[in-house]
């Protein structure tokens, strides 16, 4: 009963949001929202199609959803702050504010979806070694992304200050950062997908 009510509430809210998004012509956000709902709620939809009882929202599901909402919210706030600080004037003047906000919601939603899939279906299936490797690959991706931004800033600052073409940070930005980022992203994706589709008995 509780699950039915929750499912009905989520579905009707999603339907209203979808109508609003379509009226704002944010089609890509609409498609992403529908895809996300189908991925997360595929068990519920499958039960509905087969006219079976909906699976209960137990404490594990509630816990995972809570942690994922927290992650998505933190990402959304950080991304908004990152955009607002340097580009606040540009953002207000832009005629595509709906698309900017849509992109932010979309990224926050993606973080929620990936977090939920991780906590619900990947983490319990990975052993200690797998989790450690995933953490390492994510760390490599994060550090390379941060060092990329810092290297661009330092390259421009040094070149501007001394009037020379700075070579070290240029080399780091163009060759090392993309390589490390690719290794980090591909490695984490392989472990994530491997965990997601491995079977439990």
């Amino acid at each position: 009963m509780k699950t039915n009510r929750a499912f009905l509430a989520i579905s009707s809210t999603a339907l209203i949001v979808i109508i609003i998004l379509i009226s704002l012509r944010a089609y890509y956000v609409t498609i992403a929202l529908i895809a996300g709902i189908l991925i997360i709620g595929h068990r519920e939809f499958w039960s509905l199609i087969r006219r079976k009882k909906l699976p209960p929202i137990d404490e594990r599901v509630r816990e995972n959803a809570g942690k994922s909402i927290r992650n998505g919210f933190i990402f959304f706030v950080l991304a908004l702050a990152f955009l607002m600080l340097p580009f606040s004037v540009l953002l207000i003047r832009t005629p595509n504010i709906v698309h900017v906000l849509g992109g932010l919601f979309l990224s926050g939603g993606m973080v929620y979806l990936l977090s939920y899939l991780f906590y619900d279906r990947v983490e319990p299936k990975l052993d200690e070694r797998g989790l450690k490797m995933l953490k390492t690959f994510l760390l490599v991706a994060g550090i390379s992304l941060a060092s990329g931004i810092i290297s661009v800033f330092l390259h421009n600052a040094i070149s501007g200050l001394f009037g020379i073409e700075e070579p070290v940070f240029f080399f780091i930005t163009v060759f090392i950062v993309p390589l490390a980022l690719a290794v980090g992203i591909i490695g984490s994706l392989v472990i994530f997908i491997n965990g997601l589709f491995s079977r439990v008995s």
Partner: protein, 67 residues
């Protein structure tokens, strides 16, 4: 943490699906509980023990237990 849920479930002739239904959780939760990959709340642990007609101590074993 190790569990003896599978053993007790077999004794009671219960499937994971049936036990999940009795306790009011998803089948995946029972799977992860059996593998010791989910730390349940005290209430859930109590409900599982009750459904298997045993005690919490009997089905949840902590490796660093010094009692």
């Amino acid at each position: 943490m190790r569990t003896r849920i599978k053993e007790h479930r077999a004794k009671q002739n219960l499937t994971q699906e049936k036990l999940a239904e009795m306790v009011g959780v998803r089948r995946e939760t029972i799977i992860f509980l059996e593998q010791g990959k989910y730390n349940p709340s005290l209430r859930l642990a109590h409900n599982v023990a009750k459904a298997l007609k045993t005690t919490i101590n009997e089905i949840f074993i902590f490796d660093d237990d010094y009692c």
